[in-house]
């Protein structure tokens, strides 16, 4: 009995680690200057806690490393308005790379075109000097609110893109049987040819 229990315990713990041949999927979204992301498997499991995510810019320079929390989520504070690349390795050949285009980050961050940005910024500040603080506050509030609303949609979209339907299954089987048919047809032709040449000889 003790053996059985031990065995079950092993199975249960291994199941927790099980990743199988599921695809790794993930998404990154900008909320203000914070980039939030999530990593998980296509079967709904999230990445294990503490999975390291390495952040690169468009030139391949490392910008930093963050770790996922218990729900497979991570957050990275962007300091530059450049395209961000996120790379995570979940072992067993499961790697995922995600990118966030620069234009999803707020214009207030210094980018590669930092000068253009700052000019715009100063113009903006000059024209709306009196209530500029309220404006920026409002802007970040709107951004946060919109991001919150859009997040589930994005998650659903990512999941939907990964989902293969009945059409795919039937299509794949069709291809395999079609290939077999081709093989049999080709084989039959070879045989017929051989029979004919045999007949010609005799």
């Amino acid at each position: 009995m003790a053996n059985v229990r031990y065995f079950l315990a092993i199975i249960m713990t291994t199941l927790a680690l099980n990743a199988g041949a599921h695809n790794v999927i993930g998404g990154v979204y900008a909320i203000g200057s914070t980039i939030e992301g999530e990593i998980g498997f296509s079967n709904g499991d999230m990445a294990p806690e503490g999975t390291e995510v390495i952040v690169f810019d468009h030139l391949g320079n490392e910008l930093g490393r963050v770790k996922t929390d218990a729900d497979g989520l991570f957050a990275f504070d962007a300091s530059k308005r450049v395209e961000h690349f996120f790379y995570a390795n979940l072992s067993s050949g499961h790697v995922v790379e995600m990118s966030l285009p620069a234009d999803q980050l707020p214009a207030s961050l210094a980018g590669d075109d930092a000068q253009a940005g700052s000019v715009k910024q100063s113009e903006y500040a000059a024209s709306t000097n009196t209530d500029s603080i309220d404006q920026t506050q409002l802007k970040s509030m709107i951004e946060a609110a919109v991001a919150k609303q859009v997040k589930p949609l994005r998650q659903e979209l990512t999941a939907y893109k990964e989902k293969a339907g009945l059409q795919d299954v039937i299509g794949g089987i069709g291809y395999i049987f079609g290939l077999c048919g081709l093989g049999i047809w080709w084989r039959q032709r070879q045989k017929d040819k051989q029979d004919k040449s045999d007949a010609a000889i005799s």
Partner: protein, 206 residues
């Protein structure tokens, strides 16, 4: 089991592709073309098996079936699995095109190994012995595949012990299930279609 694009280094990818081409050539040469429909059916079975996730507790596993495919097809497992893996990459996005060679090798070579290891066992006159060898074939193919996956990852820079442990532990439930499924399949095939396992001829002689 499906390694994705971007996880492996170039030499590993090239070696995998070359060995897979060799395996496929060998398979096409050795294949008995009268058994072509059988190759197609098993290829289709593998194609679907990876798609159907069986829920176990709070996670899920899927069958790989490469042990069974190896026992039934021998070297023809290479072309059968290549086609199925290619279509999985196209339709489901499992694995990828660059790693297709490595993935095929990792799954098909254990299948061929099990063919040579268990061929005589499954055609034994005793049903129990055959079932046990079937189970060994089913579970053994998964063990070998996890080791080969770990080896591919190690050659690409990951620590072997770590990669092997992670992949191996994750697949222990699959090994157990696969062992039972293959044993059951061997018993069934022996009853209804013994020539699928190449038993027919040996029985006639024995």
């Amino acid at each position: 089991m499906h390694i994705v694009d971007g996880a492996l280094s170039v030499p590993v990818l090239v070696t995998g592709a070359v060995l897979t081409i060799a395996g496929v050539a060998m398979g096409l040469k050795k294949m008995d073309y009268d058994h072509l429909p059988q190759v197609g059916v098993l290829s289709a079975a593998f194609f679907i098996a990876s798609y159907i996730h069986l829920p176990i507790g709070f996670s899920s596993v899927h069958l790989i079936l490469n042990g069974l495919i190896g026992l039934a097809l021998g070297w023809a497992a290479f072309p059968a699995l290549l086609v199925a893996l290619f279509l999985q990459a196209v339709f489901f996005g499992f694995g990828g095109f660059v790693v297709l060679g490595v993935n095929t090798l990792n799954i098909a070579l254990p299948a061929v190994m099990m063919y040579y290891l268990c061929r005589h066992g499954v055609s034994s006159s005793s049903a129990n012995v055959a079932a046990i060898w079937g189970a060994i074939g089913g579970a053994g193919a998964i063990v070998m595949t996890t080791l080969m996956v770990a080896l591919s990852l190690m050659l690409s820079g990951e620590a072997f012990a770590l990669a092997a442990k992670a992949t191996f532990i994750a697949h222990i439930p699959v090994m157990i299930i696969e062992g039972f499924v293959t044993a059951a399949a061997v018993l069934l095939i022996r009853q209804v279609k013994p020539e699928f396992l190449g038993i027919d001829e040996e029985r006639a002689y024995g």
